[in-house]
Symmetry: C2
């Protein structure tokens, strides 16, 4: 029961993060001076939109399960489906962490960088928590569900890198030589200055 | 019935494309000279790995449905689950198209560029076909399933861009100023030269 409450809190939080992340990235798409930059951030936003669409279904479902203690009444098929959906969103958290890390290489202003890194840190902690919960749930319900609990944090050195540090001295990655110079103002965008865009 | 045969052929093809795409991109990760490049392509590969994992379940399921004409025997819940899984892979095809387009900006040799663009063209056609099939199936089974048939090809100018052309004159996007110069040899990698890596 407590597992479903925790999962609800995690996916509700990440839903809020997606909106915050979109408000930071959308202006980069809008101000893009070349097709690669536009495609790059458009693509990241689109994946997060797809995730948001799935979470709009999953979060209320988890809330109901947590509130009404209904998880015991789920059929085997319903339970298997639910665990599969949660596992997909475990991957979603992992991918979001990487979207946040990739975005660190775009921004030079400290406020945005710290905001992105704060979301990254919490998202990583949430990912690990969902992994633990999934491992517990798939053991408890091993008769109806076998999770692919691939750990996306082991075996890849890239996940050990502190991308806040690594990105600190790098000029915006999308202002590559063949592209027109990027808009100087866009590096100065802050979460605060974007609030009006929603 | 024919729908499931067609879906099987499409997702079987894209499964092969994922492996071909990975053999083109993995050497870029391995030869990456900076953390951003490594993270960027690692991230794309990881998302395709996740998709491959899902397709390893879906493709045999579709094959069985197509071969044994079993789709009439599916319960409402099973059918709803199946349509939801297919719809997720519709998004997967769309995202793969963008991974292919983004990768066009990395390579300068014609053989690799035409291979990527060929997969992009077929993937886009497959995406449109799955959209049609899904729209037909969700109408036919409207009592058990309501698809989110968001069209990811309308309303975004970026999808009208010919990225093969747009990327033609651009230096590798990951050889940005602050990063060490990229390995000259990596631009010369071809699918042919990578066959030994599998």
């Amino acid at each position: 029961m407590q597992d479903f409450s925790q999962l609800h809190a995690i996916f509700d939080r990440t839903r809020g993060y997606i909106n915050r992340f979109m408000s930071i990235i959308q202006p980069i798409v809008d101000a893009a001076q070349d097709e690669h930059t536009r495609l790059y951030y458009h693509h990241i936003l689109e994946e997060e939109e797809q995730r948001l669409g799935r979470l709009e279904q999953l979060v209320p479902h988890l809330e109901e399960l947590a509130a009404n203690q209904k998880s015991d009444q789920l059929s085997d098929r319903e339970l298997s489906r639910l665990l599969s959906d949660i596992n997909l969103e475990r991957f979603g958290l992992h991918n979001f962490r990487e979207h946040l890390e990739l975005s660190l290489y775009e921004f030079r202003d400290e406020e945005t960088r710290l905001d992105l890194d704060g979301m990254r840190e919490k998202t990583h902690a949430d990912y690990l928590l969902v992994k633990d919960i999934m491992s517990r749930l798939s053991e408890r319900f091993s008769d109806v569900y076998h999770a692919d609990l691939t750990d996306h944090d082991e075996g890849h050195d890239v996940h050990q890198v502190d991308h806040l540090k690594a990105s600190a001295g790098v000029a915006s990655v999308t202002s590559h030589p063949a592209a027109p110079a990027s808009v100087p103002g866009k590096k100065g965008l802050t979460v605060g200055s974007l609030k009006g865009l929603h």
